[in-house]
Amino acid sequence: MANRNGRKYGFTGLFPIKPGGHSSRLRNYLRSLDRHRYGSPLSDLDIVHMARWTIIERLPYQGLPAKRDILQSQYLLFLCDFDGESVDALVWDFVRFSPHLLIRVWGHCVGFPGARSREALAIYFEQCQLNTDLLLADVPDATVNEILRALVCRRMLADLIDRKQRNGWTSSALQNQFQQMWAMLSAVGRVQPGSL
């Protein structure tokens, strides 16, 4: 199904950018986000697997005899792969966890309705949405937290094996250590996205 693969939704949106210097200011801001503690402030949204922003200033020209296309506006391309069935899930998380980021980015775009109204924002995102004709997702049914927990489990098991080999545990000691490891893993709720 277009836009979807398993439990994942692949959003592709083109948002026209306001004229008069907004494009360069937006680019500077987006480039500064790389310094975030967890790689991006998008790490505040638990449902987002991967995302990117790309400013499109011009369309590629293939040389003669092809014609040159000149854009009248510049566009913010926003690509986001998240757990959910519709754009509503993404908009809801943005409004709840990162309204400031919404404003700092989409405040440079034409028609942005602000971050107060989920309904207005969902309409805006849908208005600028492009149909993802084909979405390839490698593990389409695993959520962000399921993947992060699995990665934590792998690290903990590797650490356990390493300590077992170095310390020469008895069977009882190994069993005790595994039980502690499993209890710790079971107690883990949310794993911070972007931390691994």
């Binding site: 503690r37 697997h49 369309l59 293939q62 092809a66 566009y75 084909l134 390839l136 490698d138 931390s195």
Partner: protein
């Protein structure tokens, strides 16, 4: 680098890749059908999945009148072509990524990109790389929730978690000696899934 997804230590495995190519109306019609076909018959995606370096890929056909216009004061676009947006995330360096695509997926590559203006075919790969560089747009910010993990790492971790969970349910409260034996069996069954972690994976 803005096209690389990084964790708190500045390390990351995933690189974002954006290529935009022009098509005629006939070309975009054909490509839309091909993408619909690949989406409908998911077995066609198995070869790409077997390469194990593509966490996510979006193929998007944008017709010349589909560039969003959200305000009447925004000037209308007047374009000569439709466009194919190929937006992918991959693990590893750029060059081998393109070479692997050209080497193994050249049939679907040529089927879809044949309709893009100026496309040189997947083989030989040098003109293909030049074509991609000419049409590539760099991302301004990229994010991954698990930047240190590759596609294989994620798959292994999910399989491993399932095995460890089953082991915990079935064996955790066995007598110690028997637990030890079952633990060894677990390790043998998952030894190729533990691996290492981080950008070297």
């Amino acid at each position: 680098m803005a096209d690389r997804c990084c964790n708190w230590a500045g390390e990351g495995n995933a690189v974002t890749f954006n290529v935009i190519t022009p098509m005629t109306r006939l070309g975009s019609w054909v490509v839309k059908f091909l993408l619909w076909f690949f989406d409908k018959f998911q077995s066609t995606q198995e070869t790409a999945k077997a390469l194990a370096f593509l966490p996510f890929v979006h193929w998007v056909v944008v017709k010349r009148d589909q560039f969003p216009r959200v305000d009447t004061r925004q000037p209308q676009e007047d374009l000569n072509y439709d466009y194919l947006f190929f937006l992918s995330t991959f693990n590893g360096p750029w060059g081998p990524y393109i070479e692997a695509f050209a080497d193994i997926l050249y049939v679907p590559l040529d089927l879809v990109w044949f309709w893009s203006i100026g496309y040189p075919f997947a083989k030989p790969v040098t003109p293909l790389k030049a074509y991609i560089e000419r049409n590539q747009v760099e991302s301004d910010h990229s994010y991954s929730a698990y930047p240190g993990a590759s596609v294989r790492g994620v798959r292994s971790a999910l399989d491993l978690y399932g095995a460890v969970e089953a082991f915990a349910q079935n064996s955790m409260n066995l007598p110690a000696a028997q637990f030890d034996q079952e633990f060894d069996r677990l390790l043998i069954s998952v030894q190729n899934k533990i691996g290492s972690f981080g950008t070297g994976q």
